[in-house]
Structures are given as C-alpha cells and as structure tokens.
Symmetry: C2
Subunit: 282 residues, 2 copies
DNA sequence: GCGGGCGATACCCGACGGGTATCGATCCGG
DNA sequence: CCGGATCGATACCCGTCGGGTATCGCCCGC
C-alpha cells in the first residue's frame, strides 16, 4: 500500500464525496475513483458502499480510516524528523517541545534552564499550542516532546514520566463576591450564576454544547474572566501569570493535576533522553 | 514520501550495501541507487555517506531508519487489519491475541471462556509467539491484543490494563538438593553450581553473553531443566504445566510479575474493548 | 598493474498516474 | 412527469517515472 493511496482513501473517507475529496487533493475526480477501486481490488475488500447519490464507509473502511490516519502520521513524522535531523548540523532546533500556551508557566523555564546547563544540550524550540494539540504534534513529528496535564490530556500511545502534581484553584474576577473566600467547592464554582464554565475544543476541534464561551488558549480565557464572562478551575501554578484583576481561590475537591513529560515511544534520541532525565530530576 | 521509497531506504540502511539491498528487494541495483538519491534530494538531506567501497548512515539517516521502520509497521498494520476486517464478515478471526507460548496458562483459558460467553463475542485466534515478539506483532497488525509480563516485556507505545500480579518460583529438576527447600533466595538460585540461568533472546533476536543455554520458549526450557542443564525463576502460574520431574520452589525476593493486557493505542474496536473489559473483570 | 567489486550514469521501454470528455443513474423543482 | 443538475463510473489519451540492461569510474587487494 502506498501513502498516496492512503491519502486518497482518507480524503474520500472523510469527505464521503469523491468530487470534494478530489478537489481537496488537487486532482480530478476520475483518477481518484480509479485509485480507490484499485486499492479495494488489491486489498480484496470493499471499503466504500457507493450508490450514485451517496458514499458510506463499510466496517473495513472505517478500520482503514483509523489505521490509515495513524500510518500517515507516522510517515509524516519520519519525513519531518529526518528533515530536521539533516538541518540540525549547524544550529537548527535540536528538540521541539510542545506545551499548552499558558500552562506550566513555572515549570517550563526551570526545565529549559536546567537542560541548557547540561553538557551536550541542544537548542530547544518551544511550540505553544492549543488544548489537546500536543498528542497530534508528537505523533506527526512536529514536536519531539510535550508537557501534558493529567487527567485532561490523553497519553495513549505515548511514553511519559510524571513531573509534578498540584491542586487546582478557581480563577475569578477580582471583584467577584466569592473571590475573597479562603476556598471553594467544585459545586459552588460550577453553579456560579452568570459565570458559566468555558468550553474547550475537543480532539476533533469541535466544541461541546453549553453556555460558556468557546476558548482556545489561556490569554483568551483570562481576558474573558476579567470581563466577568466566565470562571474556571485550573492548576495552581497559573497564579504566576494571573492578571492583577483576577483572583485565585483554592478548590480542594477538584482533582489534582499531574504534569507529565511525554514523547513518542520509539524515538528516544540522546538529546531527548537527556531532556527527560533533566525533567525528572527537577 | 512513498512507502516504496521508505522500504528501499530501510533495506539499504540495514544492509549498508546497495547490491545486497537491491537483491533483497527483488529489483536491480541502478534503480535503487536512483530512488535513494531522489529521496535525499526531496528531503534535502544526505542520508547515506558513500564512497565507492562502503556505505554508512548519517545522523539524519539513522533518524529515518528508526522512524521509517515505525511508519512501515503502521502501514503494514493498516493493510493487515483492513484485510481482516473485510474477511471477518463470515467467521474469520475477529481478534488475534498474542501471548508467549507457555505463559499465562491459567489466565488464558479463563479469559477466553469468559469472553466467549459475552454477547457479541467474536472468534479469538491465539497466536503463541516467542519471547518479546508481542510488541512487534501488535505494531505491525498481525495481532490486535497481547498478554505481556512486567517487568520483562516493554509496554512502550502500548495501552495496557493490569490483570494479575504473582510471585515467582524457582523451577528445578525434581531430584535437585534445593528442590525440597520451602523457599529460596535469588542469590541462591543464581549461584547454583552447574545450573546456569538460561539466556533469552533480546529484542533484535541476538542472545546475551553467558554460560546458560539459549532458549526460545518454555517447552525447550522445561526439557533443559529436566535434563539438569539449567534452572529458572518464573511466575508461579507455570506450576500448572510443570512436568512430573520438575519442582517449583517459591523465591520471595524475586520481583513480582504483573500480567497486563496490551493493545495498540489507536485501535480500540468494539470487540477489542469488550475483550479488555472482560479481562479486567476476571 | 590489473582484475574484481561496488556505486553512479546513460539510455530505453512499458506501466501507470493524471487529465478531458462523456455516460448512466438518481434526485429535485417546476 | 419531465428536464436539469449532481455525482460516480467509464473510455481514452498523454506524459512521467519506475525498472531493466549496459557501461563507466573508482578503489581495493593480489
């Protein structure tokens, strides 16, 4: 199976429409139809059920969609990491670390400083990304290592080491009546009238239903809190970057958050191993 | 990057010889040389340092070897799993479970029986494999799920659930002087004169240096123990399949062995999820 | 110095990927 | 109920590219 065939199939399986898929792929529709037929013939399996008005995935087709995406990610990762390894001879970034913008604001500088002090340290590029993006960045090779936050992020398919565990705090507008309380319970935060919890994007980029504003990163979030539109429960390390007009109140019954350093299982280069070692010793 | 190019590169990188690699791939040498050059040109990276007498990997080349193998495994897995999904409409194996031959001899039948009693259970094929083979079988799609034994097997890159933890016992010839002791210590087992510990193959198939016999599976092993050539420390569940002329003595200070059920992270089909659920409830 | 091994180059051919034109089926609006 | 629109399949052509053979250039060892 060639990656071209896989890309074609994934496009059709996602669009469920040969014309649109062909446009997305930058080719005409007939070669695409032919390529899918050939793929089906070679696999000896029907992937798509098509009558002349609609296209639907068979059971085998959805298996190939899932597995094919993973395979294409792996190929893309090989491509990107090889390119980087080739250019790194001079001073290109030796490692790319992905982390949610605004998270781990205490840990990250400590980690970078400690690693930079190591012998044989290579340059580290920090890739600030949106919520839940880290897994994909690691899998398709745009990042080598990431900081994740349990229990929010999924670590399936990644190797991890635990770094720190911290309690959570509620972040409120400074003037809010509850902002002067010594602590709050989850139930109180969730039912704050007029301050619905914000909605984060899911893995596929869509947002869950709800009242709160849709947010992508912490900058957005803090501004919305300052404007009195929402409130949120976050790990206590966010305190270091709170704006003056925000208040943080401990929430003892919120689940503890564990920060882990994560990397794709098979790619443990020497610089990566050194970075992980440094992180676990902090 | 096409999988053909990756297969070509991996072959050359493994052989470090264009002629041999071409023979292995079933093509002539010139097209192979050209394909590698094209790949290098497209990536903008030198992968192989070649003078007319020898071929060596560059740093970027070894990155591509590692990442490329993973990518090819993922593509192979997509191929195999799709084929199986397509043929499973009638009664082909719905799930393939890999386990070390001779291990988990108590757990496995219980698991299979319990799963078969579930509604919607699909046929399960059991693939008995050698030591350390499970990871590769899972990654390239020949198996869907495996039983691994910590701390011996690596679970990097796999999702797992713990099933049982057991102590280990020393397996000795029945007539051995230590066979009647109520328990032994690791130090005693390791220094049994004339009974060196057997050597298991490493991930790459090679054997570590040492005195003991090279073994691949439990059948070999038990026969060698009965012959008085070796002794070994294994999880206590091996007792159920010990030959009459072997004795098992508890070794309290040997590390406990945890059996886990493992599967590739992205492929959690409905039958697989049911099997995992059944396993964790045993 | 010469033969042999090895990768690179030159050149040819056939297969296959991609494009355009068109068909056949189905749905929809009038 | 009919005509147009939509969509996948088919037919056919062309250019590219993957693969083969022949040969070269280089370097080693005898």
């Amino acid at each position: 199976m060639e990656t071209r065939e896989l890309r074609y199939f994934v496009a059709v399986a996602e669009e469920l429409h040969f014309g649109r898929a062909a446009r997305r792929l930058g080719i005409a529709q007939p070669p695409l139809s032919r390529a899918i037929r050939q793929l089906e013939r070679r696999l000896g399996v029907t992937l798509l059920e098509r009558d002349s008005r609609s296209v639907a995935l068979t059971a085998a087709g959805s298996v190939l969609l899932r597995e094919g995406r993973a395979a294409l990610d792996a190929v893309d990762a090989a491509d990107r990491r090889t390119r980087r390894a080739g250019q790194a001879v001079n001073g290109g970034p030796g490692l790319v670390l992905a982390t949610k913008a605004g998270a781990s604001s205490e840990l990250l500088p400590k980690l970078l400083d400690a690693y930079a002090a190591e012998p044989d340290a290579v340059p580290v590029e920090v890739l600030l990304c949106g919520i839940g993006e880290q897994e994909r960045l690691l899998r398709d090779g745009r990042a080598d290592v990431a900081l994740l936050h349990l229990p929010f992020d999924s670590t399936t398919g990644l190797d991890t080491e635990e770094l720190v565990t911290e309690q959570q705090v509620a972040v409120l507008p400074a003037g809010h009546p509850l902002a002067r309380r010594p602590h709050l319970l989850m139930a109180e935060v969730e039912t704050l009238s007029g301050l619905p919890m914000p909605r984060w994007p899911r893995a596929d980029g869509s947002y869950p239903e709800g009242l709160g504003p849709e947010v992508r990163d912490h900058a957005q979030l803090f501004q919305l809190i300052a404007l009195g539109r929402t409130a949120v429960v976050l790990p206590e390390s966010v305190r270091t970057l709170l704006l003056a007009d925000l208040a943080a109140v401990p929430v003892p019954d919120a689940p503890a958050v564990t920060t882990v350093i994560a990397w794709p299982p098979h790619s443990r280069s020497r610089p990566l191993a050194a970075l992980i070692r440094t992180a676990t010793r902090l």
